[in-house]
Symmetry: D2
Subunit: 326 residues, 4 copies
């Protein structure tokens, strides 16, 4: 057996994570995840899908995600609607603020401040973005399309509307990274769309098309790697593509690489926290899949691991043209 | 101050929960939740919405949920797609089995057994239900409607297809309890719908209509009470109705009663685990909302609390006609 | 395979737990724990050890624990010092109060109120008990003995001091159930003992004697069953007895029954949350040990399961004379 | 309000943590903890106490802790017995190995391999260390002293026994950092001591002296800062010093700085997971204490934050002579 090699303090993040991968518990898992992600990036036949749950944009993860897109450390993004709503806010100069988690919320309500754990924001400002999205839907009308098509248009519209603004959506639109939001209407984007609908705007978001499109990407890929930030709909939506591909005899045999950063636990029985071992029983991951599940808040794991990837200088060798797989 | 009154063992569940409500920590919260749910049921002006996440049907919660519908302890159900898929399976005699959580999953895969923590099922049997749903979509075609409309039709179809079968869906259809599945295609129901789509069947599930319909129910209710089993899309989807109602000046001022049973934690910052205090800052709950968040696996909390409601003989005084609010 | 049998609401706790044992996830585990505990009680060759962590007495679990002792559902108690301090308080009419977990703690401090999550108490009153314990040590002086001997004397002293008072300690003293507190001085009992020491009182608590005595009980028992409420020192202290017995070739081969109610998780790597499978690798449990780890707050699990034992009328057949094993 | 400033990937750990302290959720807390720890180190009037729980040495944290001692980023160590036992093992060339958490433990048992989550070790080798400790006790005999005195002697003995070996204990002995183990006998050190006792060796570990000594250090310090790695006995043992100092009117008013890295949660009501706000109600921390509780596995938090301290070049200005305070 190989000895545990105690971690030594290191100034460089990549070096530190390499140290940690020879220790135990979740520190070891975090270190291993850097190695697995690096392998995905360096595998020329691999398409990389990222599932993004949790209030990551309010919590300051926007630049980290944008970096992943720019460096093409990911090829497909599946997100909650909320993350892309808050991303839209930031692009349009509606911001999030450093608050505190132990406060008087009735007082905040009276001041029009919304709280997301220790992050604050102004409800009034959010409503201007709800309206902006409603307005954008009006411009598109009549519209029917997948959420992936919708978010691509939204990303381009944001770049036009505020060329100096920054967002994951606009970066994805620019980089050819499709963004799926399977539960689009379960978010303030949905609120904006309902505002438009109630005004008579004709917009339909075709959720079956979403399943079709993402499955086509998986079916067209020789290998796939998945990274789950949290669980929820984004995780299941990516996981189920392998089951669908199998039903349609597409020649896939499960995701080949898999990473999850989560604060959920397997013993609650839900899909969000389940192990990749469990997923293997379903054929969602291959039996010999390189995988790691690291129990850690993503606001720690993401900055640390992405800094590790960047500082290690990991380079994508071949970028799959996912937009042409749809 | 009122003294902690040590819990005394009691044979009757309702009595035990009453005892527990005078203790501390999560036992106290569980006891308090019985009291708050009872108040919702006895409030003649209250519409009760249940959000259902987690693999509750595979875990044997079908009868508990059916009882809630039959006794009309709830008026609206918002669920993950998976729960209603597994509910459909049970109705059509495809069952779930007692397994174990610590097994060799590669071995299970080779035997065609899917694992959900300590519950097993046959993949082959699940695929017959995927096909049945695809077939049902074919019968409906051409179809455009909300998930609520779709699940109503599915519930009635199940009763016709297998009159001796039991399901939450068929019970809801019979009892006039609408079932919303905001992320319908993120589930095996979605898999069935895609199978149909790829065969050329014309089915569209209109997610914006879902937001519209559930918001109308909330807007038409004098007061609302919410119960969240887990978090995820069902929790947020119900929570956001109050924000939408506020934007449309519908006269609502937040949910009046709120219960959550969850294994998530507030400190991860996500919506699933956030406190009702946080929700008050957003106006989702009223500042004086009677609420309790109980940190407990729902497979414990639900059977215990629902047994408490039943054994206490809590009676609904007036059932709101929610189908007519849509 | 045996089918999952959906839980049906039941008024009787024992019946409900039996239902739950045929479901999934932690509800199933809770149900299984009733069965395993019942088997321990009915096994005539089994000595039952309970490890008690967490602020169980402040949280209103005193009567539940007393019932376990009175009915002799347990034979040995290993506790944190804090639990037995708060138990002493209750016996001497210093009580705990229903508070709230979301308050201004600086304000509480200024009012002399100590908070234990949602339980309040008066610091001033606690200090009278610190002094009482210091006084009791003075009466004993000069004293050297194990914590087990010390708590036995404390239990008897409490009965004399306040004959109408109730405590786990006095009940254990009366029932011949030894109480070990391996980290006695890490608690307000330790504070009282230090107060005495600083006044010149001669008191020594011999922690090596504790290890010796509890190991002798295990070595003298044909079989042992363990129940862990939480983890911490009480769990490890009981677990390690089997390793010690093995080193001394006492003929033991691990605990034969094992239950843990915990809110910790295996993936953090600590002893508190580790699985009984892990314990088997160490020889702490037998390879064929009947065991269950249930992830649930003990303020829920204990009242429910103990009510189940009581309402099922489980009877101890033969009570081991543990005091004579020391 | 100050805006959330999205974290940007950074190669240097200290820079990355500074970025993270302007984000949200636990990433922000981790960043803040670097700042608070730096302040403790730079405060010339501050004595720094570290509480160490969890299987940190098996998990490869030995070098990190040794670095803290060498650089005198801490002045007092309070540990579980297990950590110092495994530290002793490493010093005497008995090592820990990289294993896996999902294995057949009955098979491991048959091979004499002990598992600590994903770390393996040989039971036979551990028993040689149990015997070595028993032998060391024999050399000391007759002995009565605090665990602090005992660990000091053990540390020096290790250096003599294996001069090329490395351990936290020997480093602490060399650096004048006292090591308290309040529950010494709840560990394999206790097993070794019992082996000696049963052979007639006269050894007494005086736990009341431990409380006295650590309280004297706190009473002699102008200010104190605390860092808790996990909870358990080490946390409470350090926390209670302020209560004891208050009872003895020593002029203290609570710890002035406080950090906890934990995977426990406040809502379970135990001391391990309770907030520093709760502690303020008890007077354990000052009302204006600079504190942060970061929910993160210590095998992630410790390497990252200690690397941050080291790479930022934080320097202790004035080292308190804690050995002379006892």
């Amino acid at each position: 057996m190989k000895r545990v090699d105690p971690a030594v303090p290191a100034g460089n993040v990549a070096e530190l994570l390499a140290n940690m991968s020879n220790t135990g518990f979740q520190g070891r898992k975090l270190g291993e995840s850097l190695d697995i992600w690096s392998r995905m990036i360096e595998d020329e036949s691999c398409t990389i899908l990222l599932g993004l749950s949790g209030a990551m944009i309010p919590a300051g993860m926007q630049e980290i995600i944008r970096e992943l897109v720019k460096r093409r450390y990911i090829d497909v993004l599946v997100s909650t609607g909320a993350n892309m709503f808050h991303d839209t806010c930031e692009h349009l100069d509606v911001h999030h603020y450093l608050g505190h988690h132990h406060v008087d919320d009735v007082d905040l309500f009276s001041k029009g401040i919304d709280r997301i754990y220790d992050v604050f924001a102004y409800e009034k400002e959010f409503r201007t973005i709800d309206s902006a999205i409603s307005g954008f839907a009006g411009e598109l009308s009549p519209y029917t399309g997948s959420s992936r098509d919708f978010t691509g248009r939204l990303g381009r519209w944001l770049s036009e509307k505020n060329p100096s603004g920054k967002s994951v959506l606009s970066e994805c639109a620019k980089s050819g990274v499709p963004v799926f939001i399977p539960a689009l209407c379960d978010s303030s984007i949905g609120i904006g769309l309902l505002m438009a609908r109630r005004k008579g705007v004709s917009t339909f978001v075709d959720q079956i098309a979403d399943v079709d499109e993402i499955t086509k990407i998986v079916e067209s890929s020789e290998r796939t790697g998945v990274i789950y930030v949290g669980g929820g709909v984004p995780k299941n939506f990516i996981q189920q593509t392998q089951v669908i591909a199998s039903i349609h005899n597409a020649g896939n045999d499960g995701h080949h690489y898999a990473i999850q950063y989560t604060t959920d636990s397997p013993h609650w029985g839900g899909l969000s926290g389940c192990t990749f071992e469990e997923a293997i029983s379903w054929g969602k991951e291959t039996p010999d899949c390189r995988n790691v599940q690291c129990f850690c808040d993503a606001t720690i794991a993401l900055p640390v691991v992405v800094s590790g990837l960047v500082s290690a200088g990991v380079q994508r060798k071949k970028v799959p043209d996912v937009m042409n797989m749809i």
